[in-house]
Symmetry: C2
Subunit: 334 residues, 2 copies
DNA sequence: GTGAAAGCGCTAACAG
DNA sequence: CTGTTAGCGCTTTCAC
C-alpha cells in the first residue's frame, strides 16, 4: 500500500499536523522542521490521498465535461482546450457523452458523479433550459451554447444570430442569390440551430431573397451529404449552401464535388465552427471561427466564479467569433 | 448539504448497516425493511458519497485516459468509444493530455491523480517502454500502441508492420513505382512510426523498389502539407505517397490538389487510421482501418483483468485492421 | 510552532 | 436478519 501522513510523521519524528502543514504549505513551520519533513516525504515518495482530501474538504478537483460526443472535431478541440486550461485551476477533466439524448443528459446531471465533481460544464442538446434549472443539489453547472434560461443559468457562447447573418451576407455579397441553409434540427429543443436559422433568414430578408431550409437529423458529415443529395433531387436550383456546422459542410462539399459541380464556381459552400478539416479541404472551407480558447477560458472562469459565490447573479458570457473567408465561397469570376 | 446514510437510517428507523445493505444490494435484507428503506432513500434523494466510498473501498470508479491530444480525430474517436464502453465496467473516464511530451507523460504517470484512479490507459509518445516500467506504486497501466517492453506491460494495438506492408503492396499492385512514405518521427522513441516504416520497406524490398522516406515533426495536417511541399521541391518524382496517419495524408492531399495534380491519376495517396474526414475527402482516402471498437474493448478488458489479478502475466493484445481501398489510390486507367 | 483528537461518510468485522 | 462500531487518510480546532 502507499505511504500516509502518519508514517511520514513517525519517520520524521513530528506529528501528523506538522507534516500536513508542510504538504499544504499554508501554516507556519520552522524551516529546519520543514526541511526534515520534506526529506522524509521525498524519501518515502509520499503522495496525499485524494479520496481522503475530498471527503474531508468536500472538493474533488474534478470537473465533469458533459458533451454530445467527443469524436466530433468541434467538441474534440474544445475538450482539448478545456483539459489544458483546467490545469490553471488545478482541475482535472472528466468526460461524459450523452449522444445528445435528453434521458442520458438527465441521468448524468442527477447521477452520483454529478455530486462527486466540483462542477459541470455541459453542452445540452436534449434538455431544455427549463429542464436544466430543475436539479437536486448537485455541483454548479455552466452551459456551453446559447441557452435562453431566463437568466437562471450561467452560460458561455458566441452570438449565433449575428454570426449566421454575417455569413449569409457574405454569400450574398459574392453574388449568390439562391442560398440554401442546411442544418435545422426541428426535433431538438436546443436553440443553437434555430438561432443560426434566424440570422440566415434575417440576412436574406434584408436582401429580399427567398429562404430554402433543409433539416438534418444529426450534425455529421453523412447528414450534410444526405441533405445535399436531397436538395439536388428536389430540383431546387441553388448557388450556395450555408451549413450550420463544418461537418455538415464537408459532407455537402463531398457530394457536390462527386456530382461534378465546381465549388465555388457553380456552388459556394460555407460552414460553421472552423474545424481543422475545413482548412485543409479542397477548396478550403469558409466558416465562422468561434474563439475557442476564449470559450474554454470563459467556461472555466465562470465555473470558478460560481464556486466562489454560489448566489451570484448567473452570467451570460459572449465570446468573439470571426468570419473566415476561404476558397469555398470565392466570388464567381464571370 | 446532501443527505447521508445516517439520516436515511434514522428516518427509516433502522441502522446504517441496513441502509448500506439496501444500497449496495449485496447482503440479505428482509423485503419489508428493504422497501421501507428504499422509500426513504427516494424521498430524501440520497446519493452515496463517492469520496467516502473511495476512501473506504480503495476504488474510485475512475480510469485515466492519457493521450497526446484529444483534438486529433483518431484519439477523439477512440476516447469517445472508451468513454461509452467504460460504462459497462462502471468506470468514468478522466482525460489528460500530454502533447506527446515525455516530461508531461512522466508527470501524469507519477502524479497524485495517477494514484486516485483505478487504472490508466495511455498512449505514450515521449516515454520509452523501459521508462514506463519504472513507476512507483500507482494504478495499473494499459498501453495503446505497440510497445516493445519485453513483455513487461499490458498493451493493445494492431499489427502495424503488417498493415503498412499491406498498404504498400496495394500501391504497388495499382502500378505505382515511386512510392514515398511520409510520417517517420526520428525524434520520438515511440515505435509506431518505426513499425509502419518497417512494413513499408519490406513491401518495397519484395518488389525491388527504392524507398523514399520523409520525416515529420508531428502528425497534423499541416505537417503532411509541409512534407508534401518539401517532397515536391526536392524534385523527387513520385507517383504515390503512403502517409502514416490520415491527418498527414489529408495535408498532403491538400497540397497535391492545390498544385493541380490529379489524385489518383498523377499521384496516389494512402493514409492510416480511418478517420471520418478521410471518408469524405475528395477523392476519398484509402486507409488502414483499425477495429477501434475492438481496441477500446480490449483496453478496458485488459485493465479489468489486471485489476482482478495484479500478478498475471502482462498481455499483448492484437486487434484486427482492414485495408480500406477508396478512390485516392484507384489504379490509373492508362 | 507543534501535538492530540474529532470527524468527513462509508463499509464490513463482530455481536447478537 | 440487524445493530454497533472501528477505521480508511486527511484537515483543522483546540490546547500547550
Amino acid at each position: 500500500m502507499s505511504v500516509n501522513l502518519r508514517q511520514v510523521a513517525e519517520r520524521a519524528g513530528v506529528s501528523v499536523r506538522t507534516v500536513s502543514n508542510v504538504v499544504s504549505g499554508f501554516a507556519l513551520v520552522a524551516p529546519a522542521t520543514r526541511e526534515r519533513v520534506q526529506r522524509v516525504i521525498d524519501e518515502l515518495g509520499y503522495k496525499p490521498n485524494a479520496a481522503a482530501r475530498h471527503l474531508r474538504g468536500g472538493r474533488s478537483g474534478l470537473v465533469a465535461l458533459v458533451l454530445p460526443e467527443m469524436a466530433s472535431p468541434y467538441f474534440g478541440e474544445l475538450a482539448g482546450l478545456l483539459a489544458d486550461r483546467a490545469e490553471a485551476y488545478a482541475w482535472t477533466l472528466l468526460v461524459q457523452q450523452t449522444g445528445g439524448d435528453a434521458g442520458r443528459e438527465r441521468e448524468l446531471l442527477d447521477g452520483v458523479r454529478a455530486q462527486a465533481v466540483d462542477g459541470l460544464i455541459m453542452s445540452p442538446w436534449g434538455l431544455s433550459p427549463s429542464d436544466l434549472t430543475r436539479r437536486p443539489g448537485s455541483a454548479p453547472l455552466v452551459l456551453l451554447g446559447e441557452q435562453d434560461a431566463g437568466g437562471l443559468l450561467d452560460h458561455v457562447a458566441i452570438d449565433n444570430v449575428d454570426a449566421a447573418t454575417e455569413t449569409t451576407r457574405h454569400l450574398i455579397a459574392t453574388g449568390r442569390r439562391r442560398i440554401a441553409a442546411i442544418g435545422l434540427q426541428p426535433h431538438l429543443v436546443n436553440g443553437t440551430a434555430a438561432r443560426r436559422a434566424e440570422g440566415y433568414r434575417r440576412a436574406l430578408a434584408e436582401a429580399g431573397l427567398p429562404a430554402l431550409e433543409v433539416p438534418v437529423e444529426r450534425l455529421h458529415r453523412a447528414d450534410g451529404a444526405a441533405a445535399m443529395t436531397r436538395l439536388h433531387h428536389s430540383g431546387a436550383e441553388v448557388d450556395a449552401v450555408f451549413c450550420f456546422s463544418d461537418q455538415l459542410a464537408l459532407g455537402a462539399l463531398h457530394v457536390a464535388l462527386s456530382r461534378g459541380l465546381n465549388v465555388p464556381g457553380d456552388l459556394a459552400v460555407a460552414g460553421f465552427d472552423d474545424i481543422e478539416d475545413g482548412r485543409f479541404a479542397h477548396p478550403a472551407l469558409t466558416t465562422i471561427a468561434p474563439d475557442k480558447p476564449a470559450l474554454a477560458d470563459a467556461a472555466l472562469k465562470c465555473l470558478s466564479d460560481r464556486l466562489a459565490d454560489v448566489h451570484a447573479e448567473p452570467k451570460r458570457l459572449v465570446v468573439a467569433h470571426r468570419l473566415e473567408i476561404r476558397a469555398s465561397t470565392a466570388a464567381r469570376t464571370s
